[in-house]
Symmetry: C2
Subunit: 196 residues, 2 copies
Amino acid sequence: MEQVPARRGRAVRLKQGQAIRIVNTHGTQVVDTWAFNADDPTEFMSMEHLHASLGSIFPSRGDALYSNRRRPILMLEEDTSPGRHDTVIAACDVHRYQGLGCTEYHDNCTDNLHAALAMVGFVRTETPSPLNLWMNIPVAADGKIAWGEPLSKPGDHVLLRAVIDCVVVMSACPQDMIPINGADCTPVEVHYEVVG
Amino acid sequence: MEQVPARRGRAVRLKQGQAIRIVNTHGTQVVDTWAFNADDPTEFMSMEHLHASLGSIFPSRGDALYSNRRRPILMLEEDTSPGRHDTVIAACDVHRYQGLGCTEYHDNCTDNLHAALAMVGFVRTETPSPLNLWMNIPVAADGKIAWGEPLSKPGDHVLLRAVIDCVVVMSACPQDMIPINGADCTPVEVHYEVVG
C-alpha cells in the first residue's frame, strides 16, 4: 500500500469505477479528503451540497458523496469504523494555528491540499470544505460542537469509488495542538491503495 | 428602506464600521447572505471556518462572523428573531430544482448571488456556502437534518456591521417547492437599509 506520511498530503487520479481504500493505520488519524472532477475542476465534492442531498451531516456506508452540481462524485462503499466523519469544519490552515498561538509556520491541511494537487498537475486556488474522515465532531441540538477524539480503531478503512473520473486528495491532518488526532496529539501516517 | 424583491438578489458595499439592517418584512422569508472583502475577493465569510471559530453551527447576537482567513468580516450586532439561521446548507441552484422535478429554469440563490455581484462590478466565480438568515434547519444528534419553516415574525431584523470594507449580498430565496419560506411556499420581498 502507499503511504500518506504524517502531516502531509497526497493526490490520486481515479478513473470512473476505480476506488480508493484509505486505511486509518493507527486508528487515531484524521484525514481531510477532497474530490475534484478530473475533466472540470470547477466541480468538486461539496459538504454543503452533500448535507442537502443526504438530509444529514454524517454520510454513512452506501451513501453517495455529492458534488457542487448535486450529483454523486464518489460512493462511500465500505466503512469499517463507527462512521463518525466530520462535514462541518474547515480544513486547518496557517490562520488556525496562529489563532492557537503558533508563531512559526505549522503544517496544515489547506497547504497540503494545494501541494498535493500541484504534484499531479491539477492546480486550483479555492479550498472546498473537506470530508474529514474519522474526525469526531459531535453537534448538539443547540448547535454547539465538540472536538472529540476519533472513534476508529487501528486498521479501519473506507472505500471510496469514483462515479466519474476524478482527483482525490488526502491530507493526514497535522493538528497537534488539540486532541483531534487522538489524546496524545501525535499526527501519524495513513495508507491507501487504488483498487478496481 | 430598500427592497430585495421576491426571488431576487442585491449586493451592497459597506465601508468598515457601516452596518446593514436586513428586515424579514413578512417573517417567512429566508435570505441567503454572503460577504466578500472589498479589497480582496478571495477572502469571504465562510461557514466552515465560522463553525470552528464559534464552536457552534448557530451564530448568535453579538457573535463575529468569520472569513476564510479566520478573522471577523461582519458582526451580528442585533437579532430580534429567535436566532435560528442555517449555516450547513448550500445555496439553491438549478441542479437543486432539477432534482425536485423542475424541467424549466427556476430562479435560484446561486444565480442571484452572481447577478447581484455583477450589478456592483464585483465578479466572482466561486459560490461560498451562505449564511441562510431565518432558514430553520434543525440538526439532530444523529446528524439528521430537517427542513423547517422560519421561526421569525414579521418585521424581525438582523444588523450586520462591517469589520472591514466588504460587499454584502442578499438573496430572497426563490424556493417554492418545499416550505422553507413558510407553509404556503410563497417567496416574498424583504427590506434593508445601510446605517452608520
